[in-house]
């Protein structure tokens, strides 16, 4: 049981800033996801918590101990790596038992604990195999079992699903979520996959170039992105962002005119989600009216894309909707689904 506090943690290599002033408190038993594109500092942050990387500045507190100067093994954490990090010369049983063995836990308890951990990830029948004889999903489950066997205070997971194929990813994701619920251990999970973040997290931290962009529940992040970066990163497809001008509550840009907004006059960026908008019956009087750039069939919906406001704008239509390329279409974008952002800083403009 541990709360983790990161107090103004920084990581610099020479003049390069990897993580800048990371300040966050992670509650006990929380499932926190660090989300961002490659090189945003999310993995570095996790490695600093693990002790594999030294923080240049700031304080890391796990439970009530400052752990900055502690070795990884003394921080009472367990970690799961993207490429599993298993011991290839040991079989599954020995891999799972390794943390108990090197920590000199009473040998009489080993068998029971290993079997319990193996049962949690359904590995009982593979205990005598070497990692090389397992599939990717099974290997990652071995890594999970090795992490839980010691019952640590904190789980750290560094893109554990990235090496798995799409189908396995979904089932392993569910397994991780369930494990965390059952074990009630504070978990920090790093990913660049926003769907993983949305499905797993109690809270998501979106990062960019070492700086936190937004911290919030998946719903908050999805419904009220703090800036254009978060808006453009979360959701599939990402939020449509158009540049234009707002004058007297009316947003105008090429092919676009949206009324009924409230915000300061001047240049702004307007965003809305493809699934919130719809195709209107006629092109006249619709908020966006433009020739179709492309039409994609997704199975559960049809995606219409047009050029508007200097960007590609996508809208989800009913799955039976059909239209030819270059035909003019009207898209209905009511004001209440729109988000306004500062044109230069990208920060959200509150109504």
């Amino acid at each position: 049981m541990a709360e983790i506090q990161l107090k103004n943690v920084c990581k610099r290599w020479g003049s390069f800033i990897g993580v800048d002033n990371f300040d966050l408190t992670i509650a006990d038993r929380e499932f926190l996801v660090l989300l961002g594109p490659s090189g945003c500092g999310k993995t570095t942050t996790m490695r600093m918590i693990a002790g594999l990387e030294d923080a240049t500045d700031g304080e890391i507190v796990i439970g009530d101990r400052v752990v900055n100067d502690l070795d990884p093994k003394d921080r009472d954490i367990a970690m799961v790596f993207q490429s599993y990090g298993l011991y290839p010369n040991m079989n599954v049983y020995e891999n799972i038992r390794f943390p108990l063995k090197v920590r000199k836990v009473d040998p009489a308890t080993h068998n029971e604990r290993v079997m319990r951990a193996a049962a949690m990830v359904e590995l009982e029948e593979f205990l005598h195999r070497k990692p090389a004889e397992l599939s990717g999903g099974q290997r990652q489950r071995v890594a999970l079992a090795r992490a839980i066997v010691r019952e640590p205070n904190v789980f750290l997971m560094d893109e554990p699903l990235s090496n798995l194929d799409a189908k396995l990813r979904v089932s392993t994701r569910a397994q991780i979520k369930n494990l965390q619920h059952e074990l009630k251990v504070t978990t920090i999970y790093v990913t660049h996959d926003q769907i993983e973040a949305m499905t797993l997290a109690d809270r998501v931290v979106v990062m960019k170039r070492g700086v936190i962009q937004q911290v919030g529940t998946p719903t908050e992040i999805y419904d009220r992105p703090a800036n254009t970066f978060v808006a453009g990163f979360i959701g599939s497809p990402a939020m449509n962002l158009m540049d234009g001008t707002l004058a007297g509550g009316v947003f105008t840009a090429s092919n676009v005119r949206i009324e009924g907004l409230s915000g300061p006059d001047g240049p702004v960026t307007l965003g809305f989600r493809a699934e919130d908008a719809s195709v209107s019956a006629s092109a006249d009087g619709a908020e966006i009216s433009a020739p179709v750039y492309t039409m994609e069939l997704l199975g559960d919906a049809t995606m219409i894309t047009v050029r508007a406001g200097g960007a590609m704008v996508s809208v989800k239509a009913h799955k039976d909707y059909r239209i030819e390329i270059d035909e003019t279409v009207g898209l209905s974008v009511p004001a209440h689904i729109c988000h306004l952002f500062h044109k230069d800083t990208g920060a959200r403009l509150e109504a």
């Binding site: 954490i77 367990a78 993207q82 298993l86 011991y87």
Partner: protein, 341 residues
């Protein structure tokens, strides 16, 4: 690859191997079955006023003729293998009969040149090989944990023993350990025995030779292991750190298993190399205390009468020795091959 294509592809290599490797071995084996011709002797009787005397002379012409006709010599079968200079079967049997304890038996055997050489060669091989692997591994670990700037310099100095010509290297060490040398004096001081001298003490000489062997070959192991260390999977190492492994446990459970194939490789090469130990015996002038199979070959071929057959026989025995040393690995390779097929 088709068999036909492979045949043409492999032909040049195969031919070269046949001419430069297989043929010489065959010729050495052949030679080991023949002994030089004895001179043709002619007995003549000279009768004079005081009676007849018989005298024996060498018929030079007939001898030349015989040597020209059969340049290999007289066929001797396994005689040379079994004679006193080599396997010494009858001497060993006699020693077995006449001694009543194993110690006495081995001390008798130790006087036979082949077994004397074999004893040192095997001791040298099996002491030096594990030590140099351990030392090379230790140096590799140490260098690998140095900062980038120091690495180059340290690697250069670590490689020096291998760069230095073996003969020169052993001579330098010999002079240092000699009773008038720096180390020799130190040893005398430490042992509190002013008479202690490398040239006079067999155990000291063996120790010096083995020390030299480790010093000379450790860089080879170091280079191989250092290269291997660069490929140790980092996340497995980090897993071990988080799982709670100490530095030693990381080395033992992650690095050593990862380097195991390289250990096999180094052991193989060094077993072969050390079994043919030669230069240090010359450099240390150690023949009085330690001889090796290679040294016997050299000794047989040197001097006024070049004993080709004796040298050939020792060579064949050396090759057999190397084959026996390597057989466990060869058997394993063969099994792996069969397993894959």
């Amino acid at each position: 690859m088709k068999h036909r294509t492979f045949f043409w592809f492999f032909l040049p290599t195969g031919l070269a191997m046949l001419i430069f490797i297989a043929a010489p071995i065959v010729s050495v084996v052949m030679q080991s079955f023949f002994v030089p011709h004895e001179a043709v002797l002619v007995e003549t009787e000279n009768c004079g006023p005081f009676g007849c005397t018989k005298s024996v002379t060498i018929d030079q012409e007939a001898t030349e003729q015989l040597r020209a006709n059969n340049p290999l010599g007289r066929f001797a079968g396994l005689d040379i293998y079994l004679d006193r200079g080599h396997l010494a079967v009858s001497e060993v049997a006699e020693a077995w009969r006449e001694t009543d304890s194993l110690g006495a038996f081995f001390s008798d055997i130790g006087d036979l040149p082949f077994y004397r050489a074999l004893a040192f060669t095997l001791t040298y091989t099996f002491v030096v090989t594990p030590l140099l692997i351990a030392l090379g591994f230790a140096i590799a670990l140490a260098v690998n944990s140095l900062t980038q700037r120091l690495k180059g310099v340290v690697i250069f100095f670590s490689l020096l023993p291998m760069i230095v010509t073996p003969l020169v290297g052993s001579l330098i060490l010999f002079w240092m350990i000699d009773s008038r040398g720096v180390l020799g004096t130190l040893i005398q001081y430490l042992a509190d025995d002013p008479g202690l001298s490398l040239k006079a003490s067999t155990s000291l000489m063996w120790g010096a030779l083995i020390t030299y062997g480790v010093w000379h070959s450790a860089p080879f192991a170091f280079v191989v292991f250092y290269a291997g260390l660069q490929t140790v999977p980092q996340d497995t190492l980090e897993s071990a750190r988080i799982d709670g492994a100490s530095r030693w446990q990381q080395v033992w459970y992650v690095i050593v298993p990862h380097l195991m194939p390289l250990v096999t490789f180094v052991a193989l090469i060094q077993l072969m190399d050390n079994f043919r130990v030669f230069e240090p015996i010359v450099g240390f002038n150690a023949a009085a205390h330690a001889t090796s199979l290679s040294w016997i070959i050299f000794n047989d071929l040197g001097g006024e009468t070049r004993q080709l057959s004796a040298a050939a026989t020792t060579s064949v025995l050396t090759i057999l020795g190397v084959a026996i040393l390597l057989s466990p690995v060869l058997v394993r390779t063969w099994r792996d091959f069969k397993g894959k097929a």
